[in-house]
């Protein structure tokens, strides 16, 4: 028993189980996958529907800005794209917000975990034989996130404009209207701004890239605020996405005449 054990090549402890976790680790990826699937399916349906996206002075956030020449006339219709009439106005622009969300650091985590299962949960073996992550094509493209951030900002400007226009009376065109749709669009714009501004790319651009905060007090202040919001980026991602969906749903149902025009003023 006193011999030195000069062992063979070292190996890991041979434990066959793919995880020894006893807590319900599978719950969170399942919830995420279910939620994302439902919302994405609805948004696809709504984007291809090409009807019922305008109700009075309200325009569905999925269809704004409405660039195609086939657009239903509204304050947010620009009739700029004559050659893509076979696409719905929503599909023309979907790349912007979709790209922003697809490359968002939170959503990346969400779908890598819940759909790609890489990994489904911490300390749970993933099913793939090889893994290169975002080190090469295709996923290296995720690094374009900061460009989508600027695109998202442009969209936010349009959607803010839509929220302002929603204060117009749909029949008379006079200002001072305030209905359920107005509220939906205003909240929608606010949530999208918070979601975009709280993003990691924005945090980097504002101040994260600096080496010396002390030389840029204003940017440091902004970075501090954004960093605080950034802690809740996941929550903002979900709330804003859900709200966009609900806003479209409201306008769609209202336009289809399912219910009347809810208004306070």
């Amino acid at each position: 028993m006193t011999q030195v054990t000069q062992g063979p090549a070292k190996t890991r402890a041979q434990i066959q189980a793919k995880t020894l976790r006893t807590d319900p680790w599978y719950r969170s990826p399942r919830v995420t996958a279910t939620g994302l699937t439902i919302i994405v399916l609805y948004l696809l349906f709504a984007s291809f529907a090409n009807t019922d996206y305008i109700f009075g002075s309200y325009i569905s956030p999925l269809y704004s800005p409405c660039l195609a020449t086939t657009c239903t006339p509204s304050d947010s219709s620009f009739f700029l794209v004559p050659w893509l009439t076979w696409l719905t106005p929503a599909i023309i622009i979907i790349g912007g917000p979709l790209g922003f969300r697809f490359t968002c650091y939170y959503y990346r985590k969400a779908y890598y975990r819940s759909f790609w299962r890489s990994p489904a949960a911490c300390a749970v073996a993933e099913p793939h034989a090889r893994y290169r992550g975002e080190s090469r094509l295709p996923l290296i493209i995720q690094n374009v996130h900061r460009y989508f951030f600027w695109i998202a900002i442009a969209f936010n400007i349009f959607l803010t404009y839509d929220a302002v226009v929603a204060f117009k009376n749909p029949y008379t065109g006079a200002w001072g209207h305030f209905g359920v749709g107005t509220l939906m669009l205003v909240v929608n714009a606010i949530l999208l701004w918070i979601y975009s501004v709280s993003c990691h790319a924005c945090r980097h651009i504002t101040g994260g890239r600096l080496k010396h905060f002390s030389k840029h007090p204003v940017r440091y202040k902004a970075w501090t605020v954004i960093s605080r919001l950034n802690n809740y980026h996941m929550q903002f991602a979900w709330v804003s996405l859900t709200w966009v969906t609900l806003t479209d749903l409201y306008i769609r149902l209202a336009a289809a005449g399912v219910f009347g025009h809810g208004r306070w003023i």
């Binding site: 028993m1 006193t2 011999q3 030195v4 054990t5 000069q6 062992g7």
Partner: protein, 635 residues
Amino acid sequence: MTDIQRYSYDVVVIGAGGSGLRAAIEARLAGKRTAIISKSLFGKAHTVMAEGGAAAAMGNVNPADNWQVHFRDTMRGGKFLNSWRMAELHAKEAPDRVWELEAWGALFDRTKEGKISQRNFGGHEYPRLAHVGDRTGLEMIRTLQQKVVALQQEDAINLGDPEARVKVFAETTITRLIVENGRMAGAFGYQRETGGFVLFEAPAVIIATGGIGKTFKVTSNSWEYTGDGHALALLAGARLLNMEFVQFHPTGMVWPPSVKGILVTESVRGDGGVLRNSEGKRFMFDYVPDVFRAQYAETEEEADRWYDDQANNRRPPELLPRDEVARSINSEVKAGRGSPHGGVFLDIASRLPAEEILRRLPSMHHQFKQLADVDITAEPMEVGPTCHYVMGGIEVDPDTQAAAIPGLFSVGESSGGMHGSNRLGGNSLSDLVVFGRRAGLYAAEYVDATERPAVSDAAIESAVAEALAPFERTGGESPYAVHADLQQTMNDLVGIIRREHEMEAALKELVTLRERAAKVSVTGGRAYNPGWHLALDLRNMLVVAEAIATAALERQESRGGHTREDYPAMSPEWRQVNLICSLDDDGRIKLTRQPLPPMRDDLLALFERSELKKYMTDAELVSLPAGDSAQEGNH
């Protein structure tokens, strides 16, 4: 002897804490091939436990601070038993060593001007501790670790081998120093991973193994702290100094039982925390001893004003040196005014806003939340004394850190003298780097001037036999049982308050424990076998325990980390005496008295005569130089 791996180095540093790493860096910078022996993994050493900071009179927060004031505080803290030369070198060189760490990448907390911020601490007249929140030790060891790596990277690029000139032997324990013809020749030990033996042939060995806390039951120290360096030096023929001085940190956790002893940083008090008994009274006002009367506040109002205006108020008594606070807590608990789990209350919650506590004391908050389920921003902590540090250690030359055997050096907690009878908080981290550098430097010089003694086969054979002995025995006791009894004995009989008959009983018990330890047997193989490791560590703890008990029995006075119930006063006569331990031919502790070297006149002049009177004999006072008062007052 085929299974012994042999290495040849210029300098072997035993211990990879702050002092060992600093020594190794210096030896390597001097061009010496250096081995760092680490009992655990690289970067895990006990230095990470240091929380408060590194004391250095940089004067960043209060420009009135300078090395003279720091020197005075250190001598007062140590009750004038310090090696004054070490205290002087320490006070003078600490700022440079701290700045050097910064140049190696350390990120201390900052002042508004961008300098290193400094905090208040017990016994320090001015805010003096360079710190990073309450994890300064971690910052220090990581910085030194990364400096070692930086040097290895240099060697990788220039010499093609990162380990060409400095190599870390992780999880390697030295069991013997090898002396040939009266000079250091090397060190022998084993590697935990395989249980294989290693021999380091080297003309210079630096002991930087830290302390002895694992000899006691309630301790803030980790398993590594088994007095290895102290014992190795004794066994090799070197001498230990003033081993009776063991510091009990006043604030260790007391509940739950499994974490009893874990440290609660002094910064809690430095940042405004106060001690209260079960009646809600700030009892420390009742315990200010005469020697400190002039410097400490007498009312709560004055004490509270001090945090904002230190020029016009005196310090709160919670910031007395550690020995005073520990004894006071002990008295309160004994008088029946303790907290439910046998400590007292340390309250920061009512003194600072929650955010501020979280910013200044994040790891304390974390520690209490996780281990005791106590939110220190809302409730007080329960604390009590815990064995923390040994002031005694290997007797070394104050300038070079050289021990009695040519080629042997020691630094940090394993060396003695610097802190006298009681160490001030914050002085150990700076001690590590100040004397670490010196040890490395003078070890390198020694190597240049000496031949390389060869290690004899006989020395190796006897080291191997000793290390394997626990495997040869069967049916003996478990080393864990002997260790537990040793810890209990030391805790009960040689603890914070000492009595003659108890120490005599302890010495008797140690004889029995020694016999038991000689019979322990271990099961399992040699690879990573903690039972075997403990069996080997027992020898070290037993010899250290005997040194502590013997010296404590001898010193008939109370001073710093040595409190005798039967001799409660400090004695000027005993201040002139260092107690030296060595081993006799039977391997038992032999005690000799040795006079302290007299302090240099210019250093004496830093104190007022009235203060020296409290420490010195009449004969000493008569021979003081004329113009006896300090150039500046104490305040």
